[in-house]
């Protein structure tokens, strides 16, 4: 902590009108801001996070992520967690360079809580998504060196009067572009396969449990065709991280619930490896 000679807190602490923690950090300790680092030439090998999926349902939104981080052809970690609580009503999942992404999520979490404490009000869901998009934009120089971070943001929008439509999903590109997605979305290396599966599974009247099942099935499909996405690891009991945001707030699906669900999914795939059949008519 740097202070001036008198021992009192530096001016940045007393600056008025700043409700953002990232802006405060930029004034007081710019070296701690992600994306403000000077980069050397060349590239580095760093663990990459893979597939994240999100599905809306009647009453909120479910997000899930597989547990694998890869570094080239190596599995860097088999039980990494890539889906996080952002605040009381939203969650964020990350794909891309794991180290930078986790730092970004930590900053984003502090940012939301900081704003809430300073201003005495929570940001709107769009406000949160815009804030995240600005942070990703700050990471652009890193992304150009191959260290991209691509998050998926979802939450329960308390300003939407109909709870059936209050679950919302936002995706981002490396330049900070923010796009609202409808019904479902996936990011990361296995996202093509997960999105294809979700396209067939998704229904407008999903319940919470059906949305959770759709997420787990689509991650299975992603792992089936993408070597960087980890499938459910039954021998080590490592299952996807599944969270939901509803009118009651954020919650994480318990491991024993997932244990039973994954067992059912894997059992069904024994009979039909491609997963549930979509009716053609």
């Amino acid at each position: 902590m740097t202070t001036d000679g008198s021992g009192r807190l530096p001016t940045a602490f007393h600056q008025t009108g700043v409700g953002s923690f990232a802006d405060f950090l930029g004034m007081h300790a710019p070296e701690m801001m992600p994306g403000r680092r000077t980069l050397g030439p060349g590239t580095v090998d760093a663990p990459h996070g893979t597939t994240i999926v999100a599905v809306t349902f009647n009453g909120g939104v479910v997000m899930a992520g597989d547990r694998r981080a890869t570094m080239g052809n190596i599995i860097a970690q088999r039980d990494i967690e890539k889906v996080f609580q952002a605040d009381e009503f939203s969650c964020v999942g990350i794909a891309g360079t794991a180290g930078l992404a986790i730092e970004l999520v930590r900053l984003f979490q502090v940012e939301l809580e900081h704003y809430e404490k300073i201003q005495g009000a929570t940001l709107t869901l769009e406000g949160k998504a815009n804030r995240l998009s600005m942070m990703i934009r700050g990471n652009l120089p890193m992304a150009m060196q191959g260290l991209a971070v691509v998050p998926l943001f979802a939450g329960y929008d308390q300003l939407v009067p109909d709870p059936a439509k209050a679950g919302r999903i936002f995706s981002f590109d490396v330049t900070g572009g923010r796009y609202e997605e409808h019904s479902f979305h996936a990011v990361g290396s296995g996202s093509m396969f997960a999105r294809g599966a979700l396209k067939k599974f998704f229904r407008d009247d999903f319940s919470h449990d059906e949305a959770v099942r759709a997420c787990v099935e689509s991650l299975y499909d992603a792992a089936d065709d993408d070597s960087a996405t980890g499938g459910p690891d039954l021998t080590r009991q490592i299952y996807p991280v599944v969270v939901s945001c509803t009118a009651d707030g954020f919650s994480r699906v318990a491991d024993d619930v997932l244990h039973d669900l994954v067992a059912r999914v894997v059992d069904a795939r024994m009979a039909r490896p491609g997963g549930p059949a979509a009716p053609l008519s």
């Binding site: 021992g7 807190l9 940045a12 602490f13 007081h28 009381e88 930590r106 404490k117 300073i118």
Partner: protein
């Protein structure tokens, strides 16, 4: 050109202290007290938007009396310091002592610095522990002095009078309703013995609730505060020395404050 008058350092400091004390004495009072399940904050405050009690971090809260712009400035600085410390290290590394020390240094520097007027504020920084023994309350005054308080703290215009009443009537380990009753009683009793009445709309009530998972701070507003006040009136008839067995504490639902 005439030479400036000589003012002794003692006189200078005394004048500044008198100035700050007078400013604080004009304001309404604020009571902070420990109860069985946490730390309760009760302020007389008719405004719903301009708070005298606020969350600083997971287990830490802030209460103040005096000039709004000055204590608001300190509150924001405290939140920034707490969030910065938590972001740099870990959430558990943020302690009430860190915040209280920074406030003490800042208030002390402002008080003795010649260029500024002293802040007319008094602050309590409280941190709820895992157990009652782990609770801490720091009281900071306009000149930067810090006191480590136990049980209860009163600040504001009637601080001395209220502290006297609390000394007689405070019971450790009481329920939320009993603690709220006591706080409202001492805030409404004028030094001449006359009782005023304070409604829910004139009170700002919040608590650091030990059992809450991460962010312990919680405000009591609207119908919930009215219900809590009504429940606390029921305790008034009972003798103060026997805390009731049942606690109508509605803290079980994890609603964000």
């Amino acid at each position: 050109m005439s030479a400036p008058f000589y003012v002794s350092p003692e006189q200078l400091m005394k004048d500044r202290a008198d100035y700050a004390r007078k400013g604080i004495a004009r304001g309404r009072s604020n009571v902070v007290l420990q109860y069985a399940d946490g730390i309760l904050f009760v302020a007389e405050n008719a405004s719903k938007a301009l708070h005298k009690i606020s969350e600083v971090y997971d287990r830490i809260a802030f209460a103040a009396v005096g000039r709004y712009n000055e204590f608001e400035n300190l509150r924001v600085a405290g939140v920034r310091l707490a969030d910065l410390t938590g972001y740099t290290y870990d959430r558990r590394d943020v302690t009430g002592r860190t915040i209280a020390n920074a406030y003490a240094q800042t208030l002390g520097a402002i008080f003795s610095g010649a260029g500024e007027k002293p802040y007319e504020v008094e602050i309590v920084v409280a941190e709820v522990g895992d157990e009652v023994d782990g609770d801490t309350m720091y009281r900071l005054t306009y000149d930067g002095s810090v006191a480590d308080e136990h049980g209860f703290v009163a600040m504001g215009g009637q601080a001395e009078h209220i502290t006297g009443l609390l000394k007689e009537r405070y019971v450790p380990g009481s329920s939320l309703a009993a603690a709220l009753r006591l706080a409202v009683d001492v805030l409404t009793q004028a030094p001449d013995g006359e009782m005023r009445t304070l409604t829910a709309a004139q009170l700002e009530v919040a608590a650091l609730v030990r059992s809450r998972a991460r962010r312990a701070f919680r405000r009591y507003v609207g119908p919930e505060l009215e219900a809590l006040l009504a429940a606390s009136v029921a305790h008034q008839a009972e003798p103060h020395a026997t805390p009731p067995a049942s606690d109508p504490d509605p803290d079980v639902e994890a609603e964000p404050s």
